[in-house]
């Protein structure tokens, strides 16, 4: 009988133990994969939010701008530079930006804000500000009006919790207020009737602004109000302007939402006395895979020389990258602890399997089975247990992750509020199947294989005459 066949039969001598051990491996793989997918997916979502709402993957700036973000460190929006950038095989387009700071005021309130001059059409390629315009707002009036209708009790409670919040999509509103699928048809027209906000977008040359929802709330601004911006302009001029608010925008990154004012780029250049100048060109990529980004960065870096500087998204979002990197490490430690627990479980099984079969090992060696063959049988047994657990773990984790990828977890209403207060979007996303799938399974396989060292050593040192007496 072949080793693998004998090992398979041995496995089922003690079904319960095999099932328990394989289950522990299964749970380790399942939880490790799901936890990892969730963690990496949430990081990706955070990165994506900041990249798509602000930095982009690559920016070309004046070489001094990143260190010293003053409007004097700008560069000319030249066709030559644009052509140089778009000549790269992974570059789809270049999005012009003029970014600076100003003091925004409305009535008696003022706040330091980030002014972002954008090309209203080209920006749709990246942050798509138009899509982020607020659609619904839960004002006191809106809440009272909706409450006057016949609505479920849970909605009343959740509306109070999210009083004052804004939403740029139906989906977001439904998730945050916990609107049940069956109630959607009845409730959504009520929100449309009482809570909808009419916002507009701007075009190049419009003397108009779009304001982040949190900032608008702080300054008490609505669509149609005027915002006044005062700051330092190019070469010591004073920047001052007033703009009609055409829309309020909801940004997935609460920190940015708290300080952003969008202007058409040409209007922004005029505000800062820097016609034809830009603070950055955001490079829109065809392939935004990590390797592709790095390669594009390298190519652009070697093709575009001083006085320009090429910045990657990691460099531009250093704090977030470091924060998530630290969190990632703590996640790895957690998974490490999980593995440690599983490793002890597997080792316990191996220990029992070896101890209770000592006599059998002695007999088999006595009748002529070589110790290497016997160890081979044990290796097969542990491989089977490992494979059963790993395959089952992967098989169950796979659909869970695929489902989670398509249906990210939105925090229940109460927690969403807390999460947002910490400056994070209250969403936990899953990462698509990637290298972590192989690495996590491999780690568990290694644990199982390391555990098999014990019986192999025991068999090698076995004295058959003593083992038979056992």
């Amino acid at each position: 009988m072949k080793n693998y066949k004998m090992a398979w039969r041995n496995l089922w001598r003690n079904k319960r133990r095999t099932v328990i051990t394989a289950s522990s491996v299964f749970f380790a793989v399942f939880f490790a994969l799901v936890m990892r997918s969730l963690q990496l997916g949430t990081y990706d979502s955070m990165y994506k939010n900041i990249i798509e709402s602000y930095s982009g993957y690559i920016q070309v700036q004046d070489e001094d701008f990143w260190e010293n973000k003053i409007v004097d460190n700008v560069f000319k929006n030249s066709e030559e530079l644009r052509e140089k950038i778009t000549a790269d095989r992974n570059v789809e387009d270049v999005i012009p930006r003029f970014e600076s700071f100003a003091l925004a005021s409305s009535g008696s309130r003022s706040k330091g804000v980030m002014v972002m001059g954008i090309d209203p059409e080209k920006e749709k390629l990246l942050s798509d500000v138009e899509d982020k315009l607020v659609k619904y707002r839960l004002t006191d009036e809106a809440i009272s009006a909706i409450k006057s209708e016949e609505i479920p009790a849970y909605l009343e409670k959740n509306m109070d919790l999210f009083h004052g919040n804004s939403y740029s999509s139906d989906g977001r509103l439904q998730i945050e207020l916990g609107i049940k699928e069956n109630d959607e048809e009845y409730l959504m027209p009520l929100f449309e009737k009482y809570a909808s906000v009419k916002n507009g977008y701007f075009s190049m040359g419009d003397n108009a602004a779009l304001v982040g929802d949190r900032l608008a709330r702080y300054l008490g601004l609505e669509r149609g109000d005027t915002i006044i911006l005062v700051g330092q302009a190019y070469h010591g001029h004073t920047a001052a302007g007033k703009y009609v608010i055409k829309g309020i925008v909801k940004i997935p990154n609460p920190d940015i939402e708290n300080k952003i004012v969008y202007l058409p780029v040409d209007v922004c250049q005029t505000l800062y006395y820097a016609d034809g100048m830009l603070t950055s060109m955001v490079v829109h990529l065809m392939d935004d895979d990590d390797d592709a980004i790095n390669n594009t960065l390298k190519r652009l870096d070697s093709n575009i020389e001083s006085p320009y500087r090429i910045l990657g998204w990691k460099e531009m979002n250093e704090t977030l990258v470091q924060q998530l990197d630290a969190d990632n490490k703590s996640g790895i430690i957690m998974i490490g602890i999980l593995y440690l627990v599983i490793a002890f479980g597997v080792f316990g099984t191996v220990l029992m399997m070896t101890a209770e079969r000592r006599r059998e090992f002695g007999v088999l060696i006595a009748i002529g089975m070589q110790k290497t063959k016997m160890a081979g049988v044990m290796v097969y047994e542990m491989l089977y247990i490992g494979l059963l657990g790993i395959l089952a773990g992967v098989a169950i984790a796979l659909p869970s992750i695929i489902y989670g990828y398509h249906h990210p977890i939105h925090f229940p209403s109460k927690f969403a509020k807390i999460w947002e207060e910490y400056g994070f979007e209250p969403v936990m996303a899953f990462q698509w199947i990637d290298k972590y799938f192989l690495s996590q399974s491999l780690v568990v396989a290694i644990i199982v294989l390391v555990a098999v060292i014990y019986p192999v050593v025991k068999i090698r040192n076995l004295k058959e005459v003593n083992a038979i007496k056992a």
């Binding site: 009988m1 004998m6 001598r13 006595a366 009748i367 002529g368 089975m369 070589q370 110790k371 005459v465």
Partner: protein, 228 residues
């Protein structure tokens, strides 16, 4: 033809306080086809002697030649290989492999020796028939009685036609009927296949069937009686 020779064999165990002479200066020779019993009271050294003959244990002093080969000169893996080809074992508590059927247990050694399938099947069926278990081919040990398991163990020991079979108290766990039956089978196979059988036993029924009885006391051979 001599299959086994023991020259001044000693086995001394060093316990914490005293040295125990389990086997003390034993000299024996076994011819092909013998049906011998080693008898003696508990602690007389029967099992130790059998273990040394089978290469499971090594003498402290003296030499044991199996087919003119001194086992103490072989490496561990070579001893295992030598045992597989030359010695059959029957244990007191059967020690069949629980996950294998009766047929697979018997085939086990032939498999290790890489016998061709046809030859293996023929020999297995021959032995199953000889031990009267041709109708229990696919039964696992747990599905067999003690007597039936011991018959499978005897068939396993004989499977690859060893030079001799060592049986340590083979009837100790069997009832009278199973013992008679097993002894008849072993005697028949001994005569038909001319394989040497060496038992260690307390059992008078085994002693009665034996054609040579060696008596051990305190590790020494006190009598060696050959019967016809």
């Amino acid at each position: 033809m001599k299959v086994l020779e023991l020259f001044n064999v000693h086995k001394v165990y060093n316990t914490t306080h005293v040295e125990v002479h389990a086997v003390n200066d034993v000299c024996l020779e076994f011819e092909e086809g013998e049906f011998a019993a080693i008898v003696g009271p508990s602690g007389s050294g029967k099992t130790t002697l059998l273990n040394m003959i089978g290469g499971l244990d090594m003498p402290t002093e003296g030499r044991i030649l199996v087919n003119s080969t001194d086992l103490s000169t072989l490496k561990s893996s070579a001893i295992i290989d030598f045992r597989m080809r030359n010695i059959g074992f029957v244990f007191q508590s059967y020690n069949l492999i629980p996950v294998l059927t009766a047929k697979e247990n018997i085939e086990f050694i032939m498999n290790l020796q890489k016998w061709p399938r046809k030859k293996r099947d023929k020999r297995t069926m021959e032995l199953l028939k000889a031990v009267g278990l041709e109708d229990r081919v696919d039964s696992r040990p747990a599905q067999l009685s003690g007597g039936q398991q011991q018959r499978v163990a005897v068939a396993r020991a004989l499977a690859s036609k060893p030079r001799f079979v060592l049986a340590d108290e083979p009837t100790a766990n069997l009832d009278t009927k199973s013992t008679e039956n097993l002894l008849d089978i072993m005697e028949k196979l001994n005569r038909e296949e001319n394989i040497t059988f060496i038992f260690s036993t307390h059992d008078a029924r085994v002693v009665k069937k034996a054609r040579r009885v060696i008596t051990l006391e305190d590790g020494k051979v006190v009598s060696d009686e050959i019967r016809e």
